[in-house]
């Protein structure tokens, strides 16, 4: 497969992570180097018959909830900002177009 286009800025956006100009330049060298290294798996040919392992989701029954509020204080104590028994966040949905 051809050398992939690594748009570091776009990836940083997807990852919700700021990247400085300086770091961007370093990453534009480092990420393709890492990808070259892992691309060796492209050379592996897998027979369909060799796929043996199926994964299944393990879920528990949605029952027996714990008493509401018993962990609230402990959990809130770890949040950077809390008010009235709630975690404080910046507005996520805006009314502006």
């Amino acid at each position: 497969m051809s050398k992939p286009e690594v748009d570091v800025r776009a990836l940083a956006n997807l990852a919700r992570m700021d990247v400085s100009e300086e770091e961007l330049q370093k990453l534009e060298r480092e990420l393709p180097a890492i990808l070259s290294f892992v691309e060796t798996i492209q050379a592996v040919h897998i027979e369909k018959s060799e796929r043996n392992w199926s994964l299944r989701n393990v879920m528990r029954e949605d029952e027996n909830p714990h008493e509401s509020g018993i962990y609230t204080e402990k959990l809130l104590a770890q949040a950077p900002a809390q008010k009235d028994n709630r975690v404080v966040v910046k507005q996520v949905i805006s009314r502006k177009k």
């Binding site: 497969m1 992939p4 690594v6 570091v8 990836l11 940083a12 997807l14 990852a15 919700r16 992570m17 700021d18 990247v19 400085s20 770091e23 990453l27 480092e30 990420l31 180097a33 890492i34 990808l35 290294f37 892992v38 691309e39 060796t40 798996i41 492209q42 592996v44 897998i46 060799e50 796929r51 043996n52 392992w53 393990v58 879920m59 528990r60 962990y71 402990k74 959990l75 104590a77 770890q78 949040a79 950077p80 900002a81 975690v87 966040v89 910046k90 507005q91 996520v92």
Partner: protein, 470 residues
């Protein structure tokens, strides 16, 4: 008591015979930490007051005749395992002030045993690394040579045991993070079968690889801790059901020669060969085997692990835990919090993970890696129909110097012999196999044994024979 000679077995005997108390034993370790850890820095935080209180309760348990195998035994706990009310920072600025709101299952089990927790042990940032150099809290030094790394990401737990600042410790292994530091520090380290030990309360890195496991000075000590922490846990959906394992004696050990000779230092290979000869005299049959897919494990790992890590670390958004950078908008808060809370290696791997999961690339990278993982796992299962265990050196070389592996890919290559076991989900152990010399200093090396799923017993049996031939 002589901490250098002490084992869990001996401490148990002496404690139950009242030769010394659990408080005296804990004090001896706290003293050792005061004397040596200013230099080595295996611990991020020492829990002196709590440790003494736990030791006191252990003494009461012993006095009532209720001592269990680990009652009063002083241990170090890796910084990514939750101990309620204590900080669990996973070596990261992101969680620098985070206090655990519950006990990990393994901690609950150790508390029931009456073990003593001396403190939280240092690790690479978010468990990403093979040297503990990326810890937000500073480096840990290899007790055998202070100019060299202890390995990672569980460098702290390994160094604590190696320097007699803990009698045993808990680490975690995702790509070799217990076994590689065990090898570099000259102690025993076990990665259990995926699912054998509960991950509830382990700060997640790569959820399909992570396992908590013990460090000990001997195979027997490591086995004792494993027995205490293993078991099905309904709170971990990937936890395996309890199983009585068939304990038939292992006889055949497979060695994938072509694979391990690539890039291994000659004296490490020589030490490995010597160990194999010694095992032959103990009645083992050593067979050359070929594992054609296994050499792809490293590439598979550095696709799947960053993918899972990027997903797991998405939860660190400045809203619910510790580190945050208050900003005008929620998007800015995410972006600034995550840019400043994670170290360079973590940011690098998050971006790799984002890439291999992204539209247009996920098939070629992530899904292909999963297919190759399938093939590697099948290869192991089939090979174990012919041999009882597989052996390799744990690492291609002894401990390297600080700053020596600044190129990310060079650092990743440290994991070449350890990642296959994580990819296949099988258990593996590193046992010291003798020293090699670098710049006039003797440095430990490790002998890795890999066993079939659920066959930790095989690791302990062969491991004891590896030990016995020193």
């Amino acid at each position: 008591m002589d901490l250098a000679k002490l084992t869990i077995k001996e401490a148990r005997r002496a404690l139950d015979a009242k030769e010394y108390s659990a408080v005296e034993l804990t004090d001896a370790y706290l003293d050792a930490i005061k004397k040596k850890d200013g230099d080595i820095h295996a611990y991020v935080e020492v829990w002196e007051k709590e440790a003494r209180a736990q030791a006191q309760r252990a003494d009461e348990k012993i006095a009532r005749g209720e001592s269990r195998l680990l009652t009063g035994i002083p241990m170090a706990i890796k910084d990514n395992i939750l101990v309620e009310s204590n900080i669990a920072a996973a070596g990261s600025k992101m969680l620098e002030t985070y206090r655990a709101t519950y006990d990990a299952t393994v901690i609950e089990k150790l508390k029931a045993e009456g073990a003593v927790f001396l403190g939280r042990a240092n690790m690479d940032d978010a468990a990403m690394g093979s040297s503990t150099e990326t810890s937000h809290f500073g480096i840990t030094k290899n007790p055998h040579d202070h100019a060299r790394v202890p390995g990672g990401s569980s460098g702290g737990p390994a160094a604590a045991v190696a320097a007699n600042m803990a009698l045993a410790s808990l680490g975690s292994d995702t790509g070799g993070s217990i076994r590689q530091p065990a090898a570099l520090c000259g102690v025993v380290g076990l990665k259990p079968t995926y699912g054998a030990v509960s991950r509830y309360g382990l700060i997640a890195l790569a959820s399909s690889f992570d396992q908590i496991g013990p460090f000990g000075k001997t195979v027997a000590d490591t086995e004792v801790v494993f027995e205490a922490i293993r078991g099905h846990d309904p709170r971990d959906s990937t936890s395996l059901p309890d199983l009585q394992q068939d304990a038939s004696r292992p006889k055949k050990i497979g060695v994938p020669r072509a694979f391990l000779e690539k890039g291994s230092e000659p004296d490490v290979l020589a030490a490995f060969e010597t160990k194999l000869s010694q095992l032959r005299t103990r009645g083992y049959e050593i067979i050359d085997i070929d594992l054609p897919y296994t050499p792809y494990s490293l590439a598979v790992y550095y696709i799947i692990q960053p993918a899972e890590a990027s997903t797991n670390l998405a939860r660190y958004d400045g809203v619910r835990y510790a580190h945050t950078v208050p900003s005008e908008t929620v998007g800015e808060m995410y972006a600034k919090t995550r840019a400043t809370g994670f170290g360079r290696e973590v940011r690098r791997r998050i971006l790799i993970g984002t890439f291999v999961l992204s539209s247009g690339y996920a098939d070629a990278y992530y899904r292909k890696a999963r297919a190759v993982q399938d093939a590697i796992r099948t290869e192991f299962v089939r090979m174990f129909e012919y041999v009882d265990a597989i052996a390799t050196p744990t690492t291609p070389a002894p401990a390297f110097k600080f700053g020596e592996k600044s190129d990310p890919v060079a650092m990743y290559a440290e994991d070449i012999f350890t990642v296959p076991a994580n990819i296949a989900g099988v258990p593996a152990i590193s046992v010291p196999m003798g020293d090699v010399e670098r710049d006039g200093t003797k440095l430990p090396t490790g002998f890795q044994i890999i066993a079939p799923h659920r066959a930790e017993e095989v690791l302990f049996t062969i491991g004891r024979d590896v030990e016995g031939t020193v």
